[in-house]
């Protein structure tokens, strides 16, 4: 062995010993000042007074007398400190990167933040809402609604009596008189504007279909059901269609906020992708799938 390495080793040892001595002489480094709004600092991470106060309030609210003694205060603070330690430990272990559950929750939290920000965005200008309404009218389509009146003819001869009665009606008064003089049905037909599904459970499919195909003011041919026959008159009709912007404003606003959330998320991801250094393995997209997935729904028993 030559002399030079020994010489270098000696110098290194001496420098090390000197630095160690210096460290011992200086003693522990002073702690940084406590932030004004913190109740504790754990490895540099502050625990906010507001957090502590909220936890104390929760415990106090749970007690009959609302009192929180020093022991409880200490316990609550200890819990917050330990929670922070566990968070730090988890970060140090790389759980945010390695644990699929933590990753998923983290992703969901970021997505939630973006969506929440969009929900708090200022109300858009009317023109923006109008543009959305015009661009996606099908989102604001209303179901048809009908207002009908009916006359019921009970019994096996109901169809014949209904047909005879219908032939005599010449005006609104005649229809009103017919309804007043006819049998009273057991079921209660909704009197207001309702979607077809509300009539379906009461009148049955044939009478409901008749109502949907009649012009306003027209009276159906007798519709035979078990126990009798119906005559149905359409008093008013709203065939649905796309609601006007004024009628659908809350929905349009909700749709705008959702779209805004999507837009902000896309912008965030685009920014992140631009700022990130992403390397793709050659032919990554063409790599074969390791194991075929079996859709158990399709597996024959």
């Amino acid at each position: 062995m030559s002399a030079r390495p020994l010489w270098l080793l000696g110098v290194g040892a001496a420098v090390g010993a000197a630095l160690a001595s210096l460290g011992l002489a200086r003693g522990p480094r002073p702690a940084p000042p406590m932030p004004a709004d913190a109740v504790a600092v754990v490895n540099g991470a502050p625990i906010a007074r507001a957090t502590y106060a909220a936890a104390l309030a929760a415990v106090a609210g749970d007690r009959r007398d609302g009192a929180v003694d020093p022991a409880v205060r200490q316990r609550v603070l200890d819990r917050l400190i330990e929670e922070e330690l566990l968070v730090q430990r988890g970060l140090a272990l790389g759980l945010a990167r390695l644990d699929p559950r933590v990753r998923a929750d983290l992703v969901a939290a970021v997505l939630g933040e973006v969506v929440a920000d969009a929900a708090l965005a200022p109300t858009p200008a009317p023109a923006e809402l109008a543009a959305l309404h015009d661009a996606e009218p099908e989102r604001f389509r209303r179901a048809p609604r009908l207002t009908v009146t009916t006359a019921w003819f009970a019994g096996l001869d109901g169809e014949a009596r209904a047909a005879a009665a219908r032939a005599t009606i010449v005006d609104d008064a005649g229809w009103a008189a017919l309804r007043g003089g006819g049998s009273r049905p057991t079921v209660v037909v909704p009197t207001g504007a309702v979607p077809a599904s509300a009539l379906l459970d009461v009148l049955g499919p044939t009478a409901t279909r008749a109502a949907l195909t009649l012009p306003v003011g027209a009276i159906s041919a007798p519709v035979v059901t078990s126990g009798g026959a119906w005559l149905v008159r359409v008093e008013a009709r709203d065939d649905g269609g796309v609601a006007a912007l004024a009628d659908a404003e809350p929905e349009v606003l909700a749709a705008w906020r959702k779209r805004e959330g999507d837009r902000r998320l896309r912008a965030l991801l685009d920014d992140e992708r631009r700022a990130a250094r992403i390397q793709l393995a050659p032919a990554a997209l063409a790599a074969p799938v390791a194991a075929a997935e079996v859709d158990v729904d399709e597996v024959p028993r």
Partner: protein, 760 residues
């Protein structure tokens, strides 16, 4: 030497690598099962809508009208495979169909059952924070495709099931659904509230030991994905920490599992949230988990009751009918507090008694005294372990137990009936802790499916027992033995079990899975008399108790007080009367169903999706109605003092009113001349009974009477391989609707029927 070392090294790497690859192929790839995607097309409102598009009379003659009163149908008790038990039921080894995510529930309600509203109520005990979040998101998607929020095609509600079970009657409160009014964050709790204890352990536990869990993906290699997904589900569940106790629910961290041990704690937490919520008890007579001897009484006590939130109770579900009270009980509790086995009566044989009779049948040539001692020991052993009593008789089969524990003269009762949890008992019993202000329940009656395959409103057609009811079972003897253990051989004596031994068993071994398979029905429905179709209108109707339940058929029912009070009132109302009350009932049977699905549904949904969701069969009414044969009136006088015997206060049926229904419904009236003179509160509710039609498991255990033996022979409908997969076990059943009660009190101040705050 170096070459040998290199070969060993290469060999080792190859072996390790091969094992790694094999391990990944077999055990890797488990994934979180998400909420699914709601079908984007607007819901059809019936086949008629497709024909309406030709009309070009937009808004002709239309003037805005107030929301019309109408009957809407829904299902407020639905599970998806976000519930651990639903996940287990969906696995291949029990002939399950695969995942049933929340989006399926929305599409089933829209396209298959054609409901107006539904709620998701997955078990809080097995929901992770992610499941809760995804479930809410899915319901929002569902609401978004339902159209105008003021007049939507479908209203989805968020909810969860608080699934409490106690090992003894003193510890048991039972299951309750919690439904929230809104879907906005401000109207929802941050997390579901679970019950600690037995069910939570069962739902969160692995179900099988590790060795078996390792074998399943190998044995079911081609279908291993769902077993691996189940493991991911269970790992996710296990990773959710318990919330710190004693902290206000609003201050808890978002990602913890919150529990409430009693109804009082549950109500307190709901009060802390302050969101509009409704609590609905259910399965109150279901002996699958309800301990023998259980009674509703302690839930009447101050603190354990919440008349503002608990305004409804589920009378019927796919698990059976909980309506009727009976005097008998599964055990007799003496003055010394000790539970004993009651002797059989004409209408009931306790299972502890039958345990003794099974052992008696094995005595052979054993001397009579010795045999009798074995019989007595068998009864005592059974009583000692409650719902797991069947384990005490080695080798006993479903047929050996005959119809013990069942309500023989009830219609479609729950399995192992507990009369102390019946609706009639709840309504009759009072709490007199404050003698000046006695408390009685005032709950409206609803029915639900309690479906575990994301299928709200399954009762519209009586088909597909394996898919549309809760029926599950191993697909072969091999799989039954693998998971449950091979059947034990009969032995001449009973075997005592203590709770410590029970605790070591896998949860599903400790309950009677196979015997109850004969009791699963297609689900019930809740109907509301609502002033419109909006979320708020439905919620208000539920709050007013203007609701009724049906056994799944869309029976139309109106039950009104037409005289006796200062104003007419309808079901759910509590009113003061000054003269004898007179009531009117109108009922119309459900429409006969046509096969298949309406044309507009077929046009709206891909065939494969319809086949998977609806089994190709939708709500598809014909013009003919089933006939209502009679209306039965039940009168209950709630207890006036604590020692008043309950059974004398329940009159079922107080009146039976025949219907002359020619197919268009039936209208009857009745009055009670004694109501005013009685000087006490009385409640009335009605049952509208429909003509018998075939129903899945309509015959229960299918007992055959012989002489004085009520169940000399029986033909159970098994959930497993023993009954053919396609056998729906149909038998005639009188489908029915139950109104909510009308409470009348002589000369007390009148209360309007529509005011929510009428509870005591």
């Amino acid at each position: 030497m170096r070459r040998a070392l290199r070969n060993v090294l290469i060999g080792s790497v190859a072996v390790i690598g091969t094992c790694g690859v094999a391990g990944y192929v077999i055990y890797g790839g488990g994934r979180h099962e998400g909420p699914g995607t709601v079908h984007p097309r607007p819901a059809p409102a019936g086949e008629v809508l497709a024909r309406a598009t030709a009309q070009a009379t937009a808004r002709a003659g239309f003037t805005p009208a107030p929301p019309a009163p109408q009957i809407l149908f829904g299902d407020l008790h639905v599970h998806t495979t976000f519930s651990a038990d639903a996940f287990m039921r969906s696995l291949p080894f029990v002939q399950g169909e695969g995942a049933h995510p929340p989006a399926d529930a929305c599409d089933y309600a829209r396209f298959c059952s054609g409901l107006d509203f539904f709620a998701l109520t997955d078990h809080a005990e097995s929901m992770t924070p992610r499941h809760w979040r995804e479930s809410i998101d899915s319901l929002r998607q569902c609401a978004a495709v339902a159209g105008d929020p003021r007049d939507p095609d479908l209203v989805p509600f968020a909810g969860f099931e608080w699934s409490q079970v106690g090992a003894t009657p003193a510890e048991h409160y039972g299951h309750k659904n919690v439904i929230m009014r809104g879907l906005d964050d401000a109207e929802l709790p941050a997390r579901p509230i679970a019950a600690p204890g037995l069910i939570g352990q069962a739902l969160r536990g692995p179900g099988i030991d590790r060795w078996r869990a390792l074998q399943v993906p190998v044995r079911e290699f081609s279908q291993r994905q769902r077993y691996l997904d189940l493991r991911v589900f269970q790992e996710e569940l296990a990773a959710v920490p318990a919330c710190p106790p004693g902290v206000d629910t609003r201050q808890l961290p978002a990602g913890c599992r919150e529990t409430a041990a009693t109804p009082a704690e549950l109500y307190e937490k709901l009060a802390q949230w302050g969101v509009p919520a409704m609590v609905i008890p259910h399965g109150t007579t279901w002996g699958f988990y309800t301990p023998p001897g259980y009674r509703w009484d302690k839930q009447l006590a101050p603190g354990q009751r919440d008349p503002e939130r608990q305004r409804l109770v589920e009378v019927y579900s796919g698990h059976g009918n909980s309506e009727q009270y009976r005097r008998w009980d599964e055990v007799e509790v003496g003055a010394d507090g000790v539970a004993r086995c009651p002797a059989p009566t004409a209408d009931h044989e306790a299972c502890c008694w039958r345990a003794g009779e099974i052992i008696r049948g094995r005595c052979g040539a054993t001397p009579a005294a010795e045999c009798e001692a074995r019989v007595e020991a068998a009864r005592a052993n059974y009583v000692a372990v409650g719902v797991a009593g069947h384990l005490t008789v080695p080798g006993a089969t479903v047929t050996d137990w005959k119809d013990c524990g069942q309500c023989r003269d009830c219609v479609a009762p729950t399995f192992n009936y507990r009369p102390g949890g019946s609706i009639q008992y709840m309504l009759a019993r009072g709490d007199f802790a404050d003698p000046a202000r006695p408390y009685h329940e005032r709950m409206g009656l609803i029915a639900s499916s309690d479906n575990h395959s994301a299928r709200p409103g399954t009762g519209y057609k009586e088909i597909e027992r394996r898919k549309l009811t809760e029926t599950v079972g191993a697909r072969s003897a091999h799989w039954r033995d693998f998971f449950m253990g091979a059947p034990t051989a009969p032995r001449p004596t009973s075997e005592p079990f203590d709770r410590a031994r029970l605790a070591k068993m896998r949860p599903w071994q400790a309950v009677e899975l196979e015997r109850q398979a004969s009791f699963f029905l297609t689900g019930g429905l809740v109907a509301v008399h609502a002033d419109g179709r909006s979320r708020e209108a439905i919620w208000d109707a539920l709050s007013r108790r203007q609701v009724y339940g049906t056994s799944g058929e869309r029976i139309l029912l109106w039950f009104d007080l037409i005289d006796g009070a200062s104003a007419p009132a309808t079901m759910g109302a509590a009113v003061a009367i000054t003269r004898p009350p007179r009531f009117r009932v109108r009922a119309a049977g459900s429409f006969v169903q046509k096969p298949g699905c309406p044309a507009d549904v077929l046009a709206a949904v891909p065939a494969a999706r319809l086949a998977r969701l609806c089994q190709g069969e939708c709500y598809h009414p014909d013009d003919r109605r089933h006939r209502i044969t009679r209306v039965e009136v039940i009168r209950i006088r709630p207890q006036a003092r604590a020692d008043e015997p309950v059974d004398g206060l329940i009159e079922d049926a107080w009146k039976v009113l025949p219907c002359a229904d020619q197919g268009a419904g039936c209208e009857v009236e009745f009055d009670d001349p004694d109501a005013v003179a009685g000087g006490r509160e009385v409640l009335y509710y009605v049952r509208a009974i429909q003509e018998p039609t075939p129903a899945v498991n309509g015959g229960g255990l299918r007992c055959e009477r012989e002489g004085d033996q009520a169940c000399a022979r029986l033909t159970p409908c098994y959930g497993d391989f023993r009954t053919p997969y396609g056998d729906d076990c149909t038998a005639p059943l009188e489908e029915r609707a139950w109104s909510s009660p009308i409470w009348v009190t002589p000369t007390a101040p009148a209360v309007t029927p529509t005011a929510p705050a009428v509870t005591p």
